[in-house]
Amino acid sequence: MTTRISREELAQRIAADIAEGSYVNLGIGAPTLVANFLPEDQEIILHTENGLLGMGRAPGAANVDPDLINAGKQAVTALPGAAYFHHADSFGMMRGGHLDVCVLGAFQVSESGDLANWSTGAPGAIPAVGGAMDLAIGAKAVYVMTDLLTKTGESKLVAECTYPLTGVGCVTRVYTDHAVFDVTTDGFVVREAFGANTVQSLAALTGLELRDASGAAPALSRSRRDAESEEEN
């Protein structure tokens, strides 16, 4: 049994959690994939922060309209029932808590729901934040879509973010290629583990204390257990 699902499967998994009738903003990058898996037989209304509610799919090459783009500056279409508005109104919509869900990428998410997704803080990097901080604090539910581990094997779920923060205590749920985690006042709760993953194996991968959704006793990672044993000495 595998321990990872594909990015497309993850997008599909997220799409399944979005209720019909929701107003949704899908962040730039991987979250955009979620749109491909929203059910055709339902109406879910997509917001793009550059000024459109009711965003449709990408047009064919012959129908690209440079005046009609999404936040990622890609060509899109507008559905019947769409509305255009300016940037202050668009971000008012977001900041005012009118969106039901936004889906964002992440470098790190902390146990208390802090999000880091805009800057690695690397020296020489050109900073660019766009709407990330507004999205992070704006929607009723903030879903993160990410691989659990970095390319070098480090957990993106962390006790505390070491990268520059995008928002404090803002993440509702983290969808990873290994499992789905809810952010709770008790830290991460494993809502759903994919394939062979278990709460224990996930605790080992993340180095975090994890609970399962049933409320059972937390699984401790080895490192955390060791640290706590040492503290007791």
Partner: protein
């Protein structure tokens, strides 16, 4: 009022239109703060920026969501070394090589503002708000030096208005009073920037007779607009109807390259 009064049939009428982009950008001095509309390429007032480059003003502070795309428009203004400082939310893009080079060479100052705070600060300037508490950026390094306050259980940072001496905006149509309508997501920053500048300069595809714009659908009332120049229709429109045939940068593509997948709306 920076408004030209024309005499029409013995009647003094307000006529904010000017004959060409050169006249539109006249008088922008060195050291000015200039807002430039657009989100990426959409709604970027290319003809006005080109005229500004030709006009020669330098040492500018630019307010824009981005920091230029490719080698045209805002990127060309940067490349001409006319910009001392840029206030934006997202300078780094796949085609922002001009800005990237200047920044790494230490030849341009950068102030990064979260996009929604940027928009709201511009609106605040236009609406006479002295400052406002925003929840965006709380606890981040972009708010590190800002006043913070808890209101009704939520944390906010205090944000101040961004004013400008000039705004350069692109819209679809205007009348001689300066009323504006936009097209699709090219609207983006136009309406708020028009309200936040001392002098607002607008390029439009077309100037229409007064009374032709429906008062219900005017997005920017003329009170916010000082000068209007007609620059002709965007190449993907024909008499106001979308005809396509361009790529995202607005360059004509061969019908063959576009293929047969009509897709779209």
């Amino acid at each position: 009022m920076d408004v030209r009064i024309a005499n029409t049939k013995g009647r003094a009428v307000i006529d904010k239109t000017v004959t060409d982009a050169e006249s539109a950008v006249a008088g922008i001095p060195d050291g000015a703060t200039v807002m430039i509309g657009g989100f990426g390429r959409a709604g970027q007032p290319i003809e006005l920026i080109d005229a500004l480059i030709a006009q020669g003003a330098g040492d500018l502070t630019i307010v824009n969501n981005n920091a230029g795309n490719g080698d045209t428009g805002l990127a060309a203004l940067l490349a001409a070394k006319r910009v001392r400082r840029i206030i934006c939310s997202f300078p780094r893009q796949h085609d922002s090589w001009v800005f990237d080079g200047l920044y790494r060479a230490g030849e341009i100052e950068l102030e990064i503002v979260p996009q929604g705070n940027l928009a709201e600060r511009i609106r605040a300037a236009g609406a006479g708000i002295g400052a406002f508490f925003s929840p965006t950026g709380v606890g981040t390094e972009l708010a590190a030096d800002k006043e913070q306050r808890r209101i009704d259980g939520r944390d906010y940072v205090l944000e101040y208005p961004i004013n400008a001496d000039f705004a350069l905006v692109s819209a679809l149509q205007a009348d001689r009073w300066g009323n504006l309508v936009y097209r699709m997501t090219a609207r983006n920053f136009g309406p708020i920037m028009a309200s936040a500048a001392t002098t607002t300069i607008v390029q439009v595809d077309k100037v229409v007779p007064l009374g032709e714009l429906d008062p219900e659908t005017v997005v920017t009332p003329g009170i916010f607009v000082d000068r209007v120049v007609e620059v002709g229709e965007r190449v993907w429109l024909d008499d106001g109807a979308f005809v396509g045939g361009v790529d995202l940068e607005g360059r004509r593509i061969e019908p063959a390259a576009a293929g047969t997948n009509g897709g779209g709306l």
